[in-house]
Structure formats: structure tokens, C-alpha cells
Amino acid sequence: MNGPITSTVDTATLATKFRAFIDDDFVITDADAKRPFECDGLFVYKEMPRLVVMPASTEEVQKAMRLCFDHCVPVVVRGAGTGLSGGALPHPEGVLLSLSRLSRILDINHDARLARVQPGVRNVAISEACDEFGLFYAPDPSSQIACSIGGNVAENAGGVHCLKYGLTIHNILQLTVVTIEGELFTVGNEGLDSAGPDLMALLIGSEGMLAVVTEVVVKLLPKPSHCKVVLASFATIEAAGDAVGAVIANGIIPAGFEMMDSYAIKVAEDFAKAGYDVDAAALLLCELDGTAGEVDSCVAQSIEVFERHGATSIRISQNEAERALFWKGRKSAFPAIGRISPDYYCMDGTIPRRSLSRVLCEISRLAAEFDLRVANVFHAGDGNIHPLILFDQSKPGELQKAEAFGAKILELCVEVGGCITGEHGVGVEKLQQMLIQFNDAELAQLNAVKDALDPKGLLNPGKGVPTLKRCQEYRSL
């Protein structure tokens, strides 16, 4: 269904119907109270929903969905609102369904190494809750202090430890979901396999466009007993990029493998005082974990590879405090950029690692062309680049310039064999780039999947996958 959505109920009546089963305080109609929900982490897009509704149970979610389905009201589901692609941007004709009250950890089974949680539970809260058992939840997006597990499922969130520990999709055992018709069912189980098509895989990363998740069973892993970070500086991006490939070719899978370019190094060092070499063109953070013997052996091999590739300086974390300090610079790259620029735009593309120097050279050429500064942080191990474009929204035309620059970077990612989003999702931000990633037949198939699970087109309309009508409009531009 790609046509316009015509709801069959006015807002006051709709609010009354919601208040029949949700506490008055959690059916929000007042403009000031709705304001905090007008955007997610991508601030440049703002929209006011008709209502903000905050159910407190799976049953309330089911009733809310039935109500919206019966009256043709669009539903945008929101977790913690930390998403960076506008995936939780409200629909002006719709209801914003906030799952923040579904925030309980229901059960931790430390023997079976799994936790049953509600979608509003914060990512980091899971690891904190199972820490006493020596377990942790592996995916750690940089927003992990704030972002919710439901949002992580919607975006298939990654983080700095993906190469070794996988994405959200690799760490979920079971989902309880509610369909747009208000039907409830589970996919997956507490074992490892289930028969039939992997519907759970289809739902993870579907950006709230196929169903609403109301319960999640996550896999917990034993915390590695030892962990060290090797910090290596290089005089050129090429040398650093080659060193990443060489470590992996040596048979080592680091737990985290991050790269920063010269501008990002300077800004982060200025902010975090992590002891980074500010004269370096590129910095690698290579985290190795496992048993003591494994870590020592991998550290020695990595150092040998870095030296062979011309590292200008190498440091190894001597204790946990130093390891945390090495990471602090990388993890504070975003706030550090925020301090020196009025606004910044965080891009998210994935490339085959071998194209790294080409892509970074081209980004720096584009930066000159657009007359904007850019800092590059990069999940080097898995090829996920995050160029941060610095701009000033108060200057006329500068936001549009930043967006145009970002679009060029994404096109470049596709050109070298990569993709337009590694972990932030398409949301509203990258709809146009979906036409570069997929041809019309592929987009039609994706739309057919959407129609199959959401026949009235009410779940997060206008996001993720461009409708065929929009495809035609874009292609004719």
C-alpha cells in the first residue's frame, strides 16, 4: 500500500479510546509535553505526532495496535530516541508509541546464559545486571548508556566489538512481537535453532516497519579474563589500513579494531587527554581479549605486524585504567567534535577494508569541494566508516551542503562495493540512497515484504524502504 493514509478518527476521540486502557498521564496530547518526542538523535528532522502513547505492558501494546489498525492510524515506535537516521521521527497523522515504560529486566538465567528483557531496557543495563555472574551482553553501540534493546533490535545495532562478537542479530535468541493487527507471537526460542524460515532475522533491523517488539531474550557471554589494547600510530592512512588487513591475515580476530584520522586524533586528544600521538596521520586501537596466554601471544604478533608496517609509535595498555584511557579518546570523539563545531553530521557507511585509502582520499577531496571539515572515525575491523561532517546550522545553506556531502560519501561506499548504512539504519535520512543500493525489482520485493506484514502500511510509514511512487520521483530527479 503506497497511497496516502486516511485515518478514520479525530484526535480527541482517538485519545479517549486510548485512555480506556492506558493511564491518562501516558496518553499525551499537549503540545509542550509532546515536544521531547518530535525528533530522535538526528535533530535536523522534526515532526509533531497527533498523540504520544506510552503503554506499560504487552497487552496494552496489543490493544493500541488494534485501535490504530481499525482506524487506519500510522504508528511510529520509539525506544530511547537515540537513533541517528530519523527512524523514530513521528508521523504527523500518527501515534508515537513510546516503549520506555516497558523497562524491566524480567529474568536473568545465568546457568543458561540468557536474559529475558523488555524492549525499553537500556543496552548497558543488561551487562550491568549480569556482571556479578561474570557475563555480559556483547553489542555495545556508542550510545549504549542511553539506547534501548528494543531500538537495538530495530536497527540491528553494532558497536566497537562486532568483528569478534557480532551484531545484535547474532546475540538475540527470541523475540516476542505484536503485529499491526495486534496479534502476538514469538520467534526463536531459548535453544539455538528453530525450524522454518528465519523470521527473527527479517524482523531484526526492520526499523519498526514490520512489527513491534515487546520482549527480547538475549544471549549472554562469559567476560574474557584478560584484555589489552595496543595503540599504534602511523605516518600514512595507507600504512594503517594495510596493518589492519595484515593483523587479520595473521589469523587474529581482535575484539575491537578502531582507526582514527589525524583530525579526529587531534580533536579527541584535546578533549580526552588519552595520550594519543597528535602528529600521526592515523591511529589504530587494537583490543585483544581471551585467556592470558592468548592475549599475550596476540599482542606480540600484532606488535610485530605494526612494526613491519612502519608504525611510528606503539603502546600497550599496562592496566585496566590505561586501557580505559586509550578507549576514552575514541569513545569521546563525538562529544569532542561537538565542542569545536556548532553542529556535526555523523555518517555511517560500510566499505570493503581494501578501499579504505581510496575512500578517505575521496572524502578529503569532497571536503575541500564542499568547503566543510570532516573527521573520520572508523570501525576498521569490519569496514564501518563514520565520517563526522562539521557544519553550522545557523549559516544559511550549510545544513543542505552537509547533507549533500554526506550523500556523496554514501554513493562512494556503494561504488567501492560497500553499503549505505552499517548500523544506523535508513530511517528518513537515506531513502534516496536506497535507490543506489537496490534496483527497482529489489525495492519492489522489499515493498512486497512490507505489504505482507503490514497490509495497510501503518507501521512507520515513509521510512526504511522507499515506496515505488517515491522511487519514480527520485529517479526522475
Binding site: A112, T179, P197, P224, T291, G418, G422, A448
Partner: protein, 351 residues
């Protein structure tokens, strides 16, 4: 005509002539699911490595390529498809292993075959050759149609190409064997799995617990020495036989059941003839049982049961999903294969 053009033509003809098709790879898993009906489409001619970049840890391979050949190519660069899917005497193909979601003993630690998938190419029921996912580790552009195919047994279309994440082959592997009864073995497996040891296998069969650890040679010896039990030197053959369902446990023609359950679940029916793999999460049971009773047991253990051998092939032997789930699958089938030409009734009688 290329193998791909031929397959596209067969699909296109079947749609226009309203004929049914059954997808055949290496024909090593035709005993799974319902009887095959329809004209066969052979994928086994569509073979070869399309692209392999060892330092990217990515390989792209045509779906008719045998798993054995793929593993041999990867092994030349000291890498592997880590999920250890069964090769069935070299007959199993890449596409078939993914469609049937088959993973081996390392699955709890390295992930399933679905977990290794980065992207696919697929011929849908409109005879369109489509590409989903990609050749990079992280990709959230569009719905995950690639991994949806795991376990779909070809009902949504014909997989022609798969891109996988690959991993280095560990430097050393050792196995420790310990005489234990099954209840204790389940407890021990779960306790060991809770520690950060580099496990790559944990199986109990025939009164013995087998623990496999893999990694850097310098570390593995010390770890193995710290585990209770005796070093088991004939281990390579054991794990291969387990992977291929060739251990003596699998002999015979009687009923065979596979339970996918919470790893720590209590051992029901301890007097039965069991093989317990995946650290307790996969349990094989041999013998005649009432299906409802086993479903009850598996359900209590947070999982499900599938009949793998024996029984009546005309009735559903995969667990039947609940109604809303079932409706979703039917609507998805319609979305991919509107004329219903692919593998009709293979997975479920109603699909």
C-alpha cells in the same frame, strides 16, 4: 546457455505454465521435510568461487558449489566457514546448507550458518534475479532477506549465490574426554560454557563428555591441562563423525528426534537413548515416542522438537508455528512467490 540463464528460464516457464518446481542442490537432504514434488531445478551446475578476499574475511560463492570444495579453497588461506555444516560425503551444497539451516558442533561459539551470511542473490517467483545484503560485515539497508532464507527450504525462491563471513582456522585444537553420566554432563557443560575458555565443541554421547578447545598453541596446552578428563587423540575423527551424523548413535532406521532447548534445561527421560550436543542446547533422541509428549518436554525446556527420521512424511513433522506466525509465513510466501511454484509443501503441508 549458462547455468544461471537456464535456471531463470525454468522458473519463468514454470510460472507461465503454472507448473511446480523443486530445487535440488546436491540432493543430500531430500529426506528432510515432505516429499519433493514438481519438476527439479538443478543448482549443482551453478558452481565456483565468485570472489574471495582473505584479508576482508569474506567469500562469495555460487550456491551449487559443494561445501567441501568451499572449505578446501578457504583452508588454502588458513580460513574456514566456521559453522561446520555437514558435508554429506561432499554432496552438500552451499545453497542447500543455508536453505536447511544446517550447522555443526561449533555452532554455539561460532554461530549458525545464518550467522555467517552477509548477502545472497535469489531468483524469486517472478523469475527476477535479485541481490540482498552485500559483501561487508555490517549492512542494515533494507530488510534482511538474506538471513530469512535460512531454514526456508527454498519456499521463497532459489538461492544462486551467497556471501559469507569467514574466520581463521585456529592454530591448535585439543579435545578432553571424561566419563560421566548424562545429567552430570549437562551440568558440567553449562558450567564450562560460563567460563571464558575458548570452547569450540561440547558433546555427550555413549557415557562420555567431549570438550573441544581451540586457539593459540601457547594457550591451549595450559587450558587443556586444567580441564578434568583425559586428552583424546582420535578427536578429529570424532568431531567429523558428529558433524556428519555418522557416529554409531545415528545408525539404524528407527525414529530420530532433535530437541532444540535451553542449554541448562533439566534432562528429561534420562533413560532414553540420547546424544547431547551444543553444550546442552541440541539433544538428539532415538526411539519411538509420542510426539505430543516430546513437544511438552521441549516446550518446558524453552524450545521445540523436530522429527528427523521415521514417522509419516505426509504429516507435518516440523513444529507448527502459532497462528499469527503461520499467517505471516503464508503472506511472505505470497510476497516472494505469488504463483507458488517453489518447493510447494516441502516445509509445511500448508505452505
Amino acid at each position: 546457455m549458462t547455468s544461471l540463464a537456464h535456471m531463470l528460464e525454468q522458473v519463468s516457464d514454470a510460472v507461465s505454465e503454472s507448473r511446480l518446481l523443486c530445487i535440488v542442490g546436491g540432493n543430500s537432504k531430500s529426506d528432510i521435510g515432505h516429499e519433493l514434488i514438481g519438476d527439479p531445478v538443478a543448482v549443482s551446475g551453478h558452481t565456483g568461487i565468485v570472489d574471495y578476499q582473505p584479508t576482508e574475511l569474506v567469500v562469495t560463492v555460487r550456491a551449487g558449489t559443494s561445501l567441501r570444495e568451499l572449505q578446501e579453497v578457504l583452508a588454502e588461506k588458513n580460513q574456514m566457514l566456521a559453522c561446520e555444516s555437514p558435508q554429506f560425503d561432499g554432496a552438500a551444497t552451499v545453497g542447500g546448507a543455508l536453505a536447511c539451516a544446517q550447522s555443526g558442533p561449533s555452532r554455539p561459539w561460532y554461530g549458525s550458518i545464518r550467522d555467517q551470511v552477509l548477502g545472497i542473490r535469489l531468483i524469486n517467483g517472478k523469475a527476477e534475479h535479485l541481490r540482498f545484503g552485500g559483501q561487508v560485515m555490517k549492512n542494515v539497508a533494507g530488510y534482511d532477506v538474506s538471513r530469512l532464507q535460512a531454514g526456508a527450504m527454498g519456499i521463497f525462491g532459489l538461492i544462486t549465490e551467497v556471501s559469507f563471513k569467514v574466520l581463521p582456522i585456529p592454530e591448535t585444537t585439543q579435545t578432553i574426554r571424561r566419563r560421566l553420566e548424562s545429567n552430570t554432563a549437562i551440568r558440567v557443560m553449562n558450567a564450562v560454557c560460563k567460563t571464558p575458555l575458548p570452547l569450540t565443541g561440547a558433546c555427550w554421547t555413549d557415557g562420555n563428555l567431549y570438550l573441544r578447545i581451540s586457539g593459540q598453541a601457547s594457550a591451549i596446552d595450559a587450558i587443556a591441562a586444567g580441564l578434568e578428563g583425559e586428552p583424546f587423540d582420535a578427536a578429529a575423527g570424532f568431531w567429523t563423525a558428529l558433524r556428519e551424523n555418522r557416529l554409531s548413535f545415528f545408525d539404524g532406521a528407527g525414529d530420530l528426534w532433535r530437541l532444540s532447548v535451553r542449554a541448562s534445561a533439566m534432562h528429561a527421560k534420562p533413560d532414553g537413548d540420547w546424544l547431547i550436543d551444543w553444550g546442552g542446547a541440541r539433544r538428539w533422541l532415538s526411539g519411538s515416542y509420542d510426539r505430543d509428549e516430546l513437544e511438552y518436554i521441549a516446550g518446558n525446556a524453552g524450545g521445540e522438537v523436530t522429527q528427523v527420521r521415521g514417522g509419516d512424511r505426509s504429516t507435518d513433522f516440523f513444529p507448527t508455528p502459532a497462528e499469527p506466525h503461520r499467517a505471516m509465513l503464508q503472506r511472505l510466501k505470497q510476497a516472494f512467490d505469488p504463483a507458488g511454484v517453489f518447493n510447494r509443501g516441502r516445509l509445511y503441508s500448508w505452505l
